[in-house]
Amino acid sequence: MADVAKPNPVAKLNQVSKGFRDGEQYHQVLQAVNLQIHRGETVALTGPSGSGKSTLLNLIAGFETPDSGEILLEQASTSTWQDKEWSRFRRDSLGVVFQQFNLLTPLNVKDNIAFSLSLTAQPWSPWCDYLVEKLGLLPLLHRPVEALSGGQQQRVAIARALAHKPTLLLADEPTGNLDDVSGKQVMALLCELARESQTSILMVTHSEECAAFMQKRWHLSQGAVAIYEQ
C-alpha cells in the first residue's frame, strides 16, 4: 500500500534464492526472498548467524549471483549484467562499508576517500570536505590508514563509501569492531550523512542499538524475511 506513494525502489529482489554446496550437503540460505528498498530508506538486516544476511548483501552488491529469482537495481534487471555493468553500478551508485574496513592500505586517508571519486572522474568536492570535517578526519587526512585506530579506520571507510553520494549504501556490521560509544557515534553520523545525501542504507547488524538507528528492520530466519517498520 505504502509502495504506491513511494518512488521507484533503488533495489528490488524478486523471488531470490541462494544456496551453497558443502561437499555432499546443500544448504539453502535464501528461499524466494522478495524485498525492496527505496531512495533514502534505511534498513537494518538482522538475524542469527548463518541466516544469510551477508549473502543477501553480497547478492545486491553483485559479489555473488542468485541461483534463481531476479534482482533489480535502479529499476534495471541485473540478470543479464556482466562485469562491466556491475562495475559501473558499484562505481556510480553503490557504497560499501565492511566490518573489516577494507581500506586501500597503500593510500593515505585522503586518497582512500578520493578513490571512489577518481573512479568516476569526479573532483574533490565541498561534500567531501563536509564529510571529512563531520567524521573528524581533518587532522588525519595525510596519514597512512594502517596507522589509524579501528574507530578512525571505520570513519574513513564511511567517508569513502559516501564520498560519491551513492544511491545505496551496504554496510556489513560497520560497528562490529568498535566499542559501544564509538559504535553509536559512527551510527549516528552514518545516518545523518546518508540522510543528507539521500542515500538508502541496508545494514547487517547483530546489535539492537544499531538496528534502532534504522527506519526499518528486516529479520532473516531460515531463508525467509520478516519485515518490521520501526
Binding site: 556491475w86 562495475s87 553500478f89 553503490l94 573489516q100 577494507n102 586501500l104 592500505t105 577518481s118 594502517e146
Partner: protein
C-alpha cells in the same frame, strides 16, 4: 641476585631434578611434535607453498650437482685418460728438437733391450667423409694388452672401479691388419651406426668399445693401419713408457746406454695429468662460479618460498604461542621443517643434477678436447655429493631463514604483526642493503686495479655479483616513487602506491632475476666481444690462401714444388720446435722458473704483417731482425707477468753463445692456451735450429694481374694441389676453412658456459613465476576491495599486469649497466688473467633484448596464469582474507 649457598644435593633431590628434566624434555619434544604436525597440516592445505620451497632447493642443487659431477669427472679423466686405453705413461719419448716424428727404430731398440713397458704411438688428424676431421690414435696393441694386464694387477688395490679390458677386443682381426678401427660406443652409435666408417677414402670396420676406455672422440687403430692412414710409415709420434717414479733415473741411464740420446728422442717425465689439471683450472673455476651463481639464484627462490610460507603462517604462529607452545619448541619445529624440506629438495636436485651432468658432459668433453686436448671418461657419481649438497643447502638456508624465524618467534602475542610497521622495517632493510651494496662496490672498485691474479679477481667479481642484487629493492623503491607524481589520482595512483608495497615481497625474486639477467648479459657481451675480436684477429693472422702442413719428411719436396709453381704468388714458412724459456731470478721470481714454450719463427713478411701486436718496443723491427729480440704471445706474457724489455733465457738459443733474449713485442694469440715465442729467421739460423719449416702457406695469382684468387678457383686449386703434392685433406686447408673451423671451435668452447647461463636465467624465471604466483594469491583481498569499489575485473587484470611490468622493466633496465659492468670485468680482468686474451668489449643489444624478452615473457606468464585462476573465483571470499 639471589646467591644461595651451594650445598651438595641428596640422591633423592638429584633424582627429582633428573625426573623434572626428563619431564621438561618430554614436554618440549611433545610441543615440538605438535607444532610440526600443525605445520604439516598447513602445507597439506597449501601445497603450493611447500612446492615453491622444494622447487627452489631442487633447482639450486640440480645445477650445483650437475656442474660438480661434470667438473669432478673431467678432473678425474685428466689423470686417468691422459694415455690410450686408460694407461698412464710416466715418461714420453718424443721427437727430437726440430722434428715432428720419431724413427720407429727407437721403439724396436727399446723392445730388444727388454724395455717392454713401452708403447709406440702415432697420432694425427685424418679426414673422413664430408670433410670431417678425426683424431686418429694408433698404438702397438700387443704391447698395450701386455701393459694393461701388468698395470691392472698393480692398480687393483688403488682403483675400485673396474676398467674395461682389452681382451674384449677382436685382437686377431686387428693384428692381421684387417681395416678395423676402434671407437667409443657413444661416438660409434652417432657416426657409424652400421659399423662402417670412411677415412681417407678407405672404408673401415668399426669396433665400438666401452666409453670407459677414455677414447673420447678419438679413433684408435693398430699402429700399422694408423701409420698407413696417416702416411707415417716407419715413423712414430711418441713412445709412452711406464716405470715407477724411483726407477726413472735408472731408466734414463738405460736409454743413454742404448744410444737414445736427445738427438734421437727427447725424454720427458709425465705428470699424471697434473699439467692438464693446472691448465684447465680456470675453465673449471669458471664452471664452478657459474654453478654457484645458479645455486644462489635457486636458493633465492627457496628463501622466497620460506618467507612467503612464514608470512602466511604468521597468524597461526601467534595462535600457537597464545595456546602455550614454547617459543623454543616452535623454533625447533620450524628448524625440523626446514631440514626436512632441504633433505627432500636436495635429494630431488641430486637426481636431476646427475641427469643434467649427463647432458652437459658431451659438451664439456668437446670443449676440453678442443681447447686442451683432454679426453673425458664417462660420468661417475658419488653419494658424498648428495651429503655435500644437503650440508651446503642447509647451512645457506639456515643462515638465510634464522633471522626470519627469530623475528617470528619474538613477536608480541597481544597482536598480530602490524603491517604498517612491517613495511617501515622493509624500507629500513632496503636502505641498509643499498648502503651495504655501495660499500661492497666501493671496496671492489678500490681493489680491482691491484688485482693481478685470476683467483682474486674472481673473488672481487663475486663481491660485485653480491652487491648488484642488494642495490635493487631501494632502486625499485626510488624508481616507483619517481613515477608517483606522474600518476593521475585514482586507479593509477593506487597502482603505483601498491607497486611500492609489492617491492618487499617481490624483492627476492627480482634480485634473483637481476643477478641472472646481469650474468646473462655479461656472458653474452663476453662471448659476442670475443667472437668479434677473434674474427678481426683471424683476418690479420691469415693472409695466405692455402695453409699446408705436410709430413716432415716431405716438406722439403713440397716447398720446392711450390716455389717453382707459376700459380703461386707468395710462399710463407713457419718453423717450430718445443723449447724451454727461463725467467730471470728477481724479487717477483725468487727461484728460476722454466716454462715449456712453442718456439716459432716465420718469414719476414709474415712476421711483419701478420703478427697482431699488442705492444712493442719503438724500434722493434730494426732490433728484431738484427739482435736477440723476441716476440711473446699475450697469454705467456700475462701468465708470467712478462713486460717489454724483459730479458729471458731460451735453451734453444744456446748455440748462439748467448741464450738471453729481450722481449721486443707482445702479440695477441686469441683462442690459444699454449705459451708461444717467436724469433726472427736470422736468429733461428744462428741458433742452428732446423732449417725445414713445419708448415707452409701460399698465396695464388688471380685471373687478373694483381688480383686475388676467387673462392671457387681456390677450392679447385686446393683439390688440384692435394693430388699433385700427394696431400690428404687434413694436410691442406684454405683460409676460409681455417676461419670457419676456428669460429666453430670458439662457439663450442663457450657452449657450456652459455648453456649454464641460460639455465640460471631459467631458474630465475621459475623463481619469478613462483613469486608472482604466490603474490597474486596473497593479493586476493586487496584486489577484492578494489572490485567491491567498482573496479572491473579487466581493469584489475590490467592493473596487476602493469604493476609487475613496472617492477620487471625497472629490473631489466638496471640489468643493462650491471650486466655491462660484469661484462667489463669478465673481459678486462677474468678472461684476460685466466686465458691471457685481450678482448675489445662490444655491447650486444640483440643479446640484451633477448634476455629482457625472456624476463618479460616469464613475467607475463607468471602474472596472467594466477590472475586467470584467481579472477575465475568469486572475489568476495577474498575480502575476509589476510593480506600481505
Amino acid at each position: 641476585m639471589n646467591n644461595k649457598p651451594l650445598t651438595k644435593a641428596t640422591p633423592t633431590e638429584l633424582k627429582q631434578i633428573e625426573l623434572k628434566q626428563t619431564e621438561l624434555k618430554q614436554t618440549w619434544l611433545r610441543l615440538t611434535w605438535l607444532s610440526l604436525k600443525v605445520f604439516i597440516a598447513h602445507y597439506r592445505h597449501a601445497p603450493i607453498q611447500a612446492g615453491a620451497i622444494l622447487l627452489g632447493i631442487a633447482l639450486a642443487v640440480t645445477l650445483l650437482i650437475g656442474v660438480k659431477a661434470t667438473n669432478d669427472n673431467a678432473v678425474r679423466s685428466y689423470s686417468d685418460a691422459t694415455e690410450l686405453l686408460s694407461q698412464r705413461a710416466d715418461v714420453l719419448l718424443t721427437p727430437p728438437l726440430a722434428q715432428n716424428t720419431l724413427d720407429e727404430s727407437v721403439y724396436f731398440d727399446l723392445r730388444r733391450a727388454g724395455l717392454s713397458q713401452s708403447l709406440a704411438v702415432v697420432n694425427g688428424k685424418i679426414s673422413g667423409k664430408n670433410g670431417q676431421f678425426w683424431q686418429l690414435e694408433g698404438s702397438d696393441l700387443i704391447a698395450a694388452l701386455t701393459l694393461q694386464k701388468s698395470r691392472s694387477y698393480a692398480s687393483t688395490e688403488t682403483h675400485s672401479t673396474t676398467s674395461p679390458q682389452m681382451n674384449d677386443l677382436p685382437l686377431a682381426d686387428l693384428l692381421n691388419g684387417a681395416p678395423t678401427v676402434i671407437m667409443s660406443r657413444s661416438l660409434a652409435d652417432k657416426v657409424a651406426p652400421e659399423g662402417k666408417l670412411v677415412l681417407e677414402n678407405s672404408t673401415l670396420d668399426v669396433i665400438a668399445i666401452d666409453d670407459n676406455f677414455g677414447l673420447g672422440s678419438a679413433i684408435l687403430a693398430d699402429i700399422s693401419l694408423a701409420q698407413q692412414l696417416l702416411n707415417m710409415q716407419g715413423r712414430l709420434s711418441y713412445i709412452a713408457m711406464f716405470s715407477e717414479r724411483e726407477n726413472l733415473p735408472q731408466l734414463k741411464s738405460q736409454l743413454d746406454a742404448l744410444g737414445i740420446t736427445p738427438q734421437k728422442a727427447s725424454f720427458s717425465q709425465q705428470d699424471q695429468g697434473q699439467a692438464l689439471i693446472a691448465l684447465t683450472r680456470s675453465f673449471h673455476l669458471n664452471l664452478n662460479a657459474m654453478s654457484m651463481l645458479a645455486f644462489v639464484v635457486g636458493l633465492f627462490i627457496a628463501y622466497n618460498g620460506v618467507r612467503y610460507s612464514l608470512m602466511k603462517r604468521q597468524k597461526l604462529l601467534v595462535q600457537l604461542l597464545q595456546q602455550g607452545i614454547e617459543r623454543r619448541a616452535l623454533m625447533t619445529a620450524l628448524m625440523f621443517e626446514l631440514i626436512l624440506l632441504v633433505v627432500i629438495g636436495s635429494s630431488l636436485g641430486f637426481i636431476s643434477g646427475l641427469q643434467l651432468s649427463h647432458w652437459l658432459q658431451p659438451m664439456v668433453a668437446m670443449t676440453l678436447e678442443q681447447m686442451y686436448g683432454a679426453h673425458l671418461l664417462p660420468g661417475i657419481w658419488q653419494w658424498t655429493w648428495l651429503f655435500e649438497a644437503i650440508a651446503l643447502t642447509l647451512i645457506a638456508a639456515l643462515g638465510a631463514c634464522l633471522p626470519l624465524y627469530l623475528d617470528l618467534t619474538r613477536q608480541a602475542l597481544a597482536q598480530g604483526a602490524n603491517r604498517y610497521q612491517q613495511m617501515q622495517a622493509h624500507r629500513k632493510t632496503h636502505s641498509i642493503q643499498f648502503a651495504l651494496a655501495c660499500g661492497l662496490l666501493t671496496v671492489a672498485a678500490l681493489l680491482f686495479p691491484f688485482s693481478q691474479s685470476y683467483n682474486i679477481s674472481l673473488v672481487l667479481l663475486g663481491i660485485v655479483a653480491i652487491a648488484i642484487p642488494l642495490l635493487l629493492p631501494q632502486l625499485l623503491h626510488w624508481g616507483v616513487s619517481a613515477l608517483m607524481p606522474l600518476a593521475r589520482p585514482g586507479l593509477w595512483q593506487y597502482l603505483l602506491a601498491e607497486t611500492r608495497e609489492l617491492i618487499a615481497p617481490l624483492s627476492l625474486a627480482m634480485m634473483a632475476i637481476l643477478l641472472a639477467l646481469s650474468a646473462n648479459v655479461s656472458m653474452n657481451t663476453l662471448v659476442g666481444s670475443f667472437e668479434q675480436t677473434l674474427r678481426t684477429w683471424l683476418e690479420t693472422r691469415l693472409h695466405a690462401d692455402l695453409y699446408i702442413r705436410p709430413p716432415s719428411q716431405r716438406i722439403d719436396t713440397i716447398q720446392t714444388q711450390l716455389m717453382h709453381d707459376p700459380r703461386v704468388s707468395g710462399l710463407y714458412q713457419q718453423w717450430q720446435i718445443e723449447a724451454q724459456l727461463s725467467l730471470p731470478v728477481s724479487t717477483d721470481n725468487p727461484s728460476e722458473q722454466t716454462i715449456p714454450v712453442s718456439l716459432l719463427s716465420r718469414d719476414e713478411f709474415s712476421t711483419r704483417h701478420t703478427s697482431a701486436l699488442k705492444e712493442s718496443l719503438p724500434t722493434l723491427w730494426q732490433s728484431y731482425f738484427n739482435a736477440p729480440v723476441i716476440l711473446v704471445s699475450e697469454p705467456l706474457a700475462i701468465k708470467y707477468q712478462l713486460q717489454l724489455g724483459d730479458s729471458v733465457s731460451l735453451d734453444a738459443l744456446k748455440q748462439t753463445g748467448n741464450s738471453q733474449a729481450i722481449i721486443g713485442g707482445i702479440y695477441y694469440d686469441h683462442g690459444n692456451t699454449r705459451n708461444e715465442v717467436i724469433i726472427s729467421q736470422p736468429l733461428w739460423q744462428k741458433a742452428q735450429l732446423p732449417l725445414l719449416p713445419v708448415s707452409l702457406a701460399a698465396s695464388f695469382h688471380g685471373n687478373e694481374q694483381g688480383s686475388r684468387i676467387s673462392e671457387a678457383q681456390l677450392d679447385q686449386l686446393q683439390a688440384q694441389l692435394a693430388t699433385e703434392l700427394g696431400l690428404s685433406q687434413a694436410e691442406i686447408y684454405s683460409q676460409t676453412k681455417i676461419k670457419t673451423q676456428a669460429i666453430a671451435m670458439f662457439k663450442r668452447t663457450f657452449s657450456i658456459t652459455l648453456v649454464l647461463n641460460s639455465l640460471t636465467l631459467i631458474v630465475a624465471a621459475i623463481g619469478l613465476f613462483s613469486a608472482c604466483l604466490m603474490l597474486t594469491q596473497a593479493r586476493q583481498a586487496p584486489l577484492a576491495r578494489l572490485y567491491s569499489l567498482g573496479v572491473s575485473r579487466n581493469a584489475l587484470r590490467a592493473m596487476v599486469f602493469m604493476q609487475m611490468l613496472i617492477v620487471v622493466l625497472i629490473t631489466c633496465l638496471l640489468a643493462m649497466p650491471t650486466g655491462a659492468l660484469l661484462g667489463y670485468l669478465l673481459i678486462n680482468k677474468i678472461t684476460l688473467q685466466a686465458f691471457g686474451w685481450t678482448i675489445k668489449m662490444i655491447w650486444d643489444w640483440q643479446a640484451y633484448g633477448k634476455a629482457i624478452l625472456i624476463a618479460l615473457t616469464t613475467c607475463t606468464l607468471a602474472v596472467l596464469l594466477p590472475l586467470y585462476w584467481q579472477t575465475r573465483k568469486p572475489l568476495v571470499a577474498s575480502l575476509q582474507q589476510e593480506t600481505l
